[in-house]
């Protein structure tokens, strides 16, 4: 039971870290995808969306190749931190960021695309600098996109299995997240424990989606004063 609680804590930490890191990482990318007319946009869009269609084991396999201690990135990471990226929490975070990228980028891209140029032009004529326009016009208008992106990213990270197993294995307290714990309970025929965790995930998933539909579904929310 304490092992399961540890898995719940680790999963929440992984999902929260991934979500928090993806907000600043995905925002400029989503903005560029929403506004750019560059021919390379569709290529980048396809790359970002790859995790949606790629089997998680394939992604996990390539991440393992790219991030293992013998690779350029993996060895550089060891030099910098002394830790390996494979079979570690840091590696899981990187894998989760890549795996969940489309879940953050796509809602933000849609939200940014909905901000008309005409509104940004009006703000500019009122003296708002590009940074000011971003913070005080774009962000308030993209609130729902951020909420949707955060909830979906968090929920998706909580449910990760294939990539986590390939990159992190099953190390209690380090890489043993909820989905791995459920898998292990099933493997050892401990169905009661598996039920407990699976039911918890089921409820959590429903709650996440309800949150998105309930609060991100509002047509607009008015800024007063």
């Amino acid at each position: 039971m304490s092992g399961d609680l540890q898995a719940v804590g680790l999963t929440a930490l992984l999902a929260a870290t991934t979500t928090l890191l993806l907000v600043p990482l995905a925002s400029p990318l989503a903005w560029w995808l929403a506004r750019s007319t560059s021919p390379s946009r569709s290529v980048i869009e396809a790359v970002v969306a790859m995790p949606l269609v790629l089997p998680p084991t394939v992604l996990g396999f390539y991440l393992l190749i790219m991030l293992n201690p013998e690779s350029v990135v993996g060895s550089l990471w060891i030099e910098l931190t002394g830790d390996s990226l494979t079979f570690s929490f840091s590696g899981l975070v990187i894998a989760s960021i890549i795996y969940s990228l489309p879940f953050m980028v796509q809602p933000l891209q849609a939200a940014f695309r909905a901000v008309p140029d005409s509104v940004l032009e009006a703000a500019a004529t009122l003296g708002a600098s590009p940074r000011d326009r971003w913070l005080n016009v774009v962000l308030p208008m993209a609130k729902r996109g951020y909420l949707t992106g955060c909830v979906l990213t968090f929920a998706h990270t909580v449910g990760e299995f294939g990539v986590v197993l390939m990159m992190g294995g099953n190390i209690p307290g380090e890489t043993r997240v909820l989905s791995i714990a459920i898998y292990e309970h099933v493997e050892t025929l401990n169905y009661d424990a598996a039920h407990m965790l699976a039911l918890g995930l089921l409820g959590f998933s429903f709650l996440s989606l309800w949150l998105v539909y309930r609060y991100a579904g509002h047509r607009f929310e008015v800024v007063r004063g």
Binding site: S118, V119, E121, A122, A123, A124, T125, L126, G127, A128, S129, P130, D132, N136, V137, P140, M141, F220, E221, V222, V223, R224, G225
Partner: protein
């Protein structure tokens, strides 16, 4: 103080090429007249720095705003503008009050002759302050946008058909207030409109645009006298007629073909124009609203 505006250059558009060589002193308000598609709005956008493809030079008060292909030598947000677009363009998701606050927070630090309270009162906005921008009518949006532009305490006011969506009563009031404020604040004005009476009341000099080129430039009242001819020469056939009420205390109803097209206030001059098709013409008449009035 001189408010020299110099615009030289060109901009290619699908329907016309804006080709300008303008040098005007905005110490006297400038009107821009022209048919739809003549390039009036594009000209305002060039002045505002919103047309990246304009190739040429824009100068205001000796300050180079746009030079060659460097459209943002002075970027839009640093030009000290007040702009009212045709559609108002209030910031969505915000109340009217929040839209006005957005302008006030970024306004130039100058002593203003007209207060926030006076503006909202005169523009009939007080009952709308807590309303979201999305629920306003076209006329209300334009009035809020006008207040917002003036609250930015601009050094140059660019108005693009700013009253078109308001009814005749509001329009007349707004013209009167606007004339007072501009005179009190000394703000240079560039005013785009189809309405000859608005241009006559608010501007002293006028340019007429046709398919992107200036075809006439001079005193507003002189050019307006000849406006029918000016408008006749646009690319598509247009019929135009100027009508005015001479009586001092009457209001007339304008009959355009068989439809009543709106009220004409005493002394108001109205420009009618209509695109002609093969078998159509323009029939217009002023009908007095009461027996003793004449149109």
């Amino acid at each position: 103080m001189s408010h020299q505006l110099i615009i030289k250059g060109s901009l290619r558009r699908a329907r016309f090429t804006l080709d300008l060589d303008l040098d005007v002193d905005l110490s006297r308000p400038l009107g821009i007249l022209g048919a739809t598609g003549a390039g009036k709005t594009t000209l305002l956008r060039v002045i505002a720095g919103l047309e990246r493809d304009f190739s040429g030079r824009v100068e205001f008060c000796g300050e180079v705003w746009h030079d060659g292909d460097h459209f943002d030598r002075v970027p839009t947000h640093q030009r000290g503008l007040g702009v009212v677009f045709q559609d108002g363009r209030l910031l969505p998701g915000r109340t009217v009050e929040s839209n006005l606050a957005f302008a006030r927070q970024r306004a130039r630090k100058v002593n203003a002759a007209v207060s926030y309270e006076a503006l909202t009162e005169a523009l009939d906005l007080n009952h709308l302050l807590s309303e979201p921008a999305e629920v306003l009518s076209g006329g209300e949006r334009q009035r809020a946008a006008l207040a917002r532009a003036l609250l930015a305490r601009p050094r140059l006011l660019l108005l693009d058909e700013p009253l078109a969506a308001n009814d005749a009563d509001h329009r007349q009031q707004l013209i009167r207030h606007l004339a007072e404020w501009l005179s009190a604040e000394g703000i240079p004005l560039v005013y785009v409109s189809h309405a000859a009476h608005e241009l006559a009341q608010l501007t002293r000099q006028l340019i007429v645009l046709e398919r992107g080129s200036v075809t006439a430039q001079g005193e507003t009242h002189v050019l307006l006298e000849a406006q029918s001819e000016a408008i006749d020469s646009v690319a598509r056939p247009v019929a135009a007629v100027v009508m005015s009420t001479d009586v001092e205390h009457s209001t007339a109803t304008l009959q355009l073909d068989d439809d009543a097209a709106g009220a004409v206030l005493p002394g108001e001059r109205v420009l009618l124009q209509r695109e002609l098709t093969e078998n159509s013409g323009l029939g217009a008449a002023l009908q007095p609203q009461s027996d003793e009035n004449e149109g």
